[in-house]
């Protein structure tokens, strides 16, 4: 019988793979256009990838304690959302390249 934690772990790892693919596509797009907003998009997808792999593996293996895992999950999501939002918040023309 498959446990829900194993399914959750599987979904998180799959999210990480998809996010990594999107980070690669964003990188290719950034290299072509050098549009600074895409640098933040790449960073957001990479953070989400790292978080998904870490949390997904930890749910399955239990190598990180539950409370710490929830904290890391929340921090990862916050960092991802902030990175997506930063190009909207930064003044035009002053973004890092």
């Amino acid at each position: 019988m498959v446990h829900l934690t194993e399914v959750a772990s599987g979904f998180l790892l799959l999210s990480g793979v998809v996010s990594l693919a999107l980070a690669v596509v964003s990188f290719v797009a950034y290299r072509r256009s050098r549009h600074s907003a895409l640098a933040f998009v790449i960073a957001a997808f990479l953070v989400f990838t790292a978080k998904s792999f870490l949390v997904g593996y930890s749910i399955y293996s239990g190598f990180i304690e539950h409370e710490t895992l929830e904290f890391l999950d929340a921090v990862g999501d916050m960092a991802t959302v902030l990175l997506f939002a930063l190009p909207l918040l930064a003044p035009r023309g002053r973004q890092a390249q």
Partner: protein
């Protein structure tokens, strides 16, 4: 080898005639078939000399066998560059305005100075753009040639370009609010 389906073969030939310089993956995506199936039919067409293929920059690019397609290396490299959205936009701005400064291009495209420099460098290396004869800004190196190129062949929509445009439009609209 079994004979290829005539309808799909016709679609492939017409697509390559309309968008010469396209590559296999893009062709398959636009026609809604698998790469394997498109590649299988392309082998027939190249073998039958109805199409030509050349490897450029790691991509297998396809051209009509007839002279309707770009025949010179210069045309082919120009077309390959114009399939990228930002270089195409720069060229269209210069076509419309005649010449434009670095700052004008940055404002029109919503790009930083560094990004504009990078794109202009690519276009100047390909001999599409040059420093303006008026002394300020940039202009097309061969205006008539670019007009001819764009009139005859439409640059294909590139999925990576569409992805980039999606995010750029998102941030452009977000900043307006």
């Amino acid at each position: 080898m079994t004979a290829p389906e005539p309808d799909l073969v016709t679609r492939i030939v017409r697509y390559v005639e309309d968008f010469p310089g396209t590559h296999l993956r893009e062709l398959a995506r636009q026609l809604g078939v698998s790469e394997a199936l498109a590649g299988y039919h392309l082998d027939h067409l190249v073998h039958g000399r109805l199409l030509r293929s050349e490897t450029q920059g790691g991509y297998r690019r396809l051209y009509p066998a007839s002279t309707r397609g770009p025949t010179t290396r210069r045309e082919k490299s120009h077309l390959a560059l114009l399939r990228q959205r930002v270089p195409l936009r720069i060229v269209l701005i210069l076509l419309e305005r005649g010449s434009a400064s670095h700052t004008d291009l940055g404002q029109a495209l919503g790009l930083s100075k560094g990004a504009v420099t990078y794109q202009l460098h690519k276009l100047m290396e390909a001999d599409l753009v040059r420093a303006s004869s008026k002394g300020v800004g940039f202009e097309l190196a061969d205006r008539a040639g670019v007009e001819r190129l764009l009139r005859r062949w439409k640059p294909t929509p590139d999925p990576v370009e569409r992805f980039a445009e999606l995010w750029e439009n998102f941030y452009a609209h977000g900043r307006k609010r």
